[in-house]
């Protein structure tokens, strides 16, 4: 006797969620999402990744309430205090600012950068890739050649050159990262489009008189979406690392904004004597990137079983 059979309402809900014969389109989506969730829960590492991500979002949303100190408040009499000193769990930096509070507030900056890149680069890539794949011919050649040119640059170096031209700052860093990260999505979307382009159901809607725009946006792009989502999640870690690298070089967020990469950069001067100033924000970057990587691996197994090994 399981708990479900004891509770008919719960058993009914479970049956509704796992049915083979959904009653509507919405129902089918809910069933699919639930089944995806079930296989995610069978992968403890992916769940850990999800938990890290949830904590990141919670911390950045609640930063003003959970941070013990003002992240910008300087206390010069309390400079470079080691971790565990009274009131400063992670110690203080060269201006006496509480490192824990700065890391907590830095979470929202990381989240801001990642979100902005994640909503721009994949969309651009998706549009370019599905256009190239669906239309083919010269459009395909030109768009893919353009993609290859962008792929020919190492991402960080190209982003550096863009930021150098645009000037330092968070927005320009986001723009530079987005400009350098759309090409893989374009390739992916093109490959997916090529596999669905000549399927019968696409021909069927074309015969019904659907325009190219309608076919691409309504029928081709949604099919590319799951592989693009997996790729986005796996790319998040790379985006975080690139953003932190730009911050470290002084090209991302400007002082006194508590961006993690910039915090490592300022802690570098005291590395040998006050190790915690550079170490703590680095740990934060590491944990958040690891979370995205774990979740991305898990999502890949669920959404794209072909590539899982």
């Amino acid at each position: 006797m399981t708990a479900d059979t004891l509770n008919p309402a719960k058993a009914g809900l479970r049956a509704w969620l796992t049915t083979d014969t959904p009653a509507s389109r919405g129902h089918a989506r809910v069933v699919q999402a639930y089944l995806g969730w079930l296989s995610l829960t069978r992968n403890p590492l992916a769940l850990l990744g999800l938990a890290i991500l949830v904590v990141l979002i919670a911390v950045s949303a609640l930063a003003p309430w959970i941070a013990p100190h003002d992240p910008l408040a300087q206390e010069l009499t309390n400079r470079l205090q080691p971790p565990g000193s009274p009131g400063h769990l992670f110690g203080t930096d060269e201006l006496g600012r509480d490192i824990l509070s700065r890391i907590i507030h830095g979470a929202s900056i990381t989240l801001y950068i990642v979100t902005l890149v994640a909503v721009t680069a994949p969309v651009v890539g998706l549009v370019i890739g599905s256009l190239a794949g669906y239309i083919g011919g010269w459009t395909d050649t030109v768009l893919m050649r353009l993609t290859d040119i962008f792929l020919a640059f190492p991402r960080l170096v190209l982003a550096l050159a863009f930021v150098a031209a645009l000037g330092p700052g968070i927005e320009n860093a986001v723009l530079a990262i987005a400009i350098t990260s759309w090409p893989p999505y374009a390739r992916l979307a093109r490959a997916e489009t090529l596999t669905v382009r000549h399927q019968d159901y696409i021909s069927a809607i074309r015969l019904q008189g659907a325009s190219a725009t309608r076919i691409i946006t309504g029928h081709v792009m949604p099919l590319c979406l799951s592989s693009v989502i997996v790729r986005v999640t796996l790319d998040m870690a790379g985006i975080i690392l690139t953003a932190a690298g730009l911050g470290f070089l002084g090209l991302g967020a400007q002082p006194p904004i508590p961006e993690w990469g910039a915090m490592i950069s300022s802690g570098r001067k005291f590395l040998l004597d006050q190790w915690w100033v550079a170490t703590m924000p680095g740990l934060a970057i590491f944990i958040v990137s690891l979370g995205f990587n774990l979740l991305g691996d898990g999502l890949r197994d669920i959404l794209d079983p072909r590539s899982g090994q």
Binding site: L160, A237, L272
Partner: protein, 340 residues
């Protein structure tokens, strides 16, 4: 047989693609140089110059010409090896890059050697023990590599192995009193010191390169081991492996000779790609370790708004990237008869 017409045609096609890509690289660096808010003519004459001098400078730099003509000038300059003059060193950027490039080459090569020596066996062991603990260990090491900022790992490495344990040399390529002692022949200190027969300097250079190369090599290990693992899994499921086992060949021979032998071909591509990626990683690593290579040159140029240096460096990195891709493609075609 080796140079069949079909093979030659595919090589020519690759060359044409590379040429188009390279022109594209030039176009991108050109655009970056033109969209930047700093007026190049103004930065030469200074903001106190009169209007006539300013206009004369614009004219002399070709900035009064239409953009496509400027682009044409830019291309012809680059093909003559003229990347402009660096504001920071007041020398031609091309000369500067030739001077700093061997340091990056040295670092990336040692790092790639780390990547091959550790990455390939780790990938093989992980594939053979798929799902068991060695596989998990390799996977976790790889995940850590993909999640750790390279500059942070470099700093932690400096803190532990230089600051606390004192096992390795600190930042830079040599201790200060060894600088400029051996004659500069190749620009690669490890080779130059051997040519000069100075083993003390060789040892010192080795103690300085080992940490940055290991840090950079870690990323190479993560990538190479992951790819080796997936190639090996593919090979181990093939029928010729079963045949070899049935014939009674030892498991060691089957894995390390038969399977790994066939994996070597795709691995060449992976190793070339990882070498190219190390160029990117070297930008941050060189900054952390004050390693006077191309990455350090680019970041120094960035911090002093030296656009010629930044764009010249970017172009060279992009060019090397394209070149390595071409090289791996050609090697692949030469080694794998099916690709010919």
């Amino acid at each position: 047989m080796l140079l069949s017409p079909r093979f030659l045609r595919s090589v020519l096609k690759t060359m044409a693609t590379i040429a188009v890509t390279f022109i594209g690289l030039l176009f991108i660096t050109f655009i970056i140089g033109r969209v930047m808010p700093i007026d190049p003519a103004l930065s030469v004459v200074g903001d106190k110059a009169s209007e006539e001098i300013y206009q004369a400078a614009r004219k002399a730099m070709g900035l009064d010409q239409p953009l496509y003509i400027q682009f044409f000038y830019y291309i012809s300059d680059v093909f003559r090896g003229d990347l402009g003059t660096s504001l920071l060193t007041a020398r031609p950027v091309a000369e500067d890059i030739i001077r700093v490039f061997p340091a990056t080459l040295e670092l990336a090569t040692i790092a790639t050697i780390f990547g091959i020596i550790f990455g390939v066996p780790m990938g093989v062991v992980a594939a053979v023990n798929k799902g068991r603990w060695p596989d998990q260990v390799v996977r976790v090491l790889g995940l850590f590599g993909y999640s750790m900022p390279v500059f942070w790992l470099g700093l932690i490495g400096l803190l532990v192995f230089y600051g606390v344990l004192g096992w390795v040399g600190g930042p830079g390529r040599l201790d200060i009193f060894f600088e400029d002692v051996v004659p500069n022949i190749t620009g690669v200190i490890l080779i130059d010191s051997l040519i000069a027969g100075d083993f003390e300097i060789f040892g010192n250079a080795l103690s300085h390169i080992i940490l940055p190369a290991a840090v950079l090599g870690y990323y190479s290990i993560a990538y190479i081991s992951r790819m080796t693992r997936s190639f090996m899994l593919e090979q181990l499921s093939q029928e010729y492996i079963t045949t070899a086992r049935v014939k009674g060949i030892s498991e060691f021979q089957v894995i390390w000779r038969h399977a790994l032998g066939n994996v070597m071909v795709p691995l060449i591509t992976v190793i070339a790609l990882s070498y190219a990626q190390l160029l990117e990683g070297s930008v941050l690593t060189e900054t952390v370790f004050a390693w006077p290579g191309l990455g350090f040159y680019i970041t120094a140029g960035l911090l002093s708004a030296d656009m010629n240096a930044v764009l010249g460096g970017t172009l060279v990195v992009g060019g090397v990237f394209v070149g390595l891709n071409l090289l791996s493609d050609l090697l692949y075609r030469l080694v794998d008869p099916r690709a010919r």
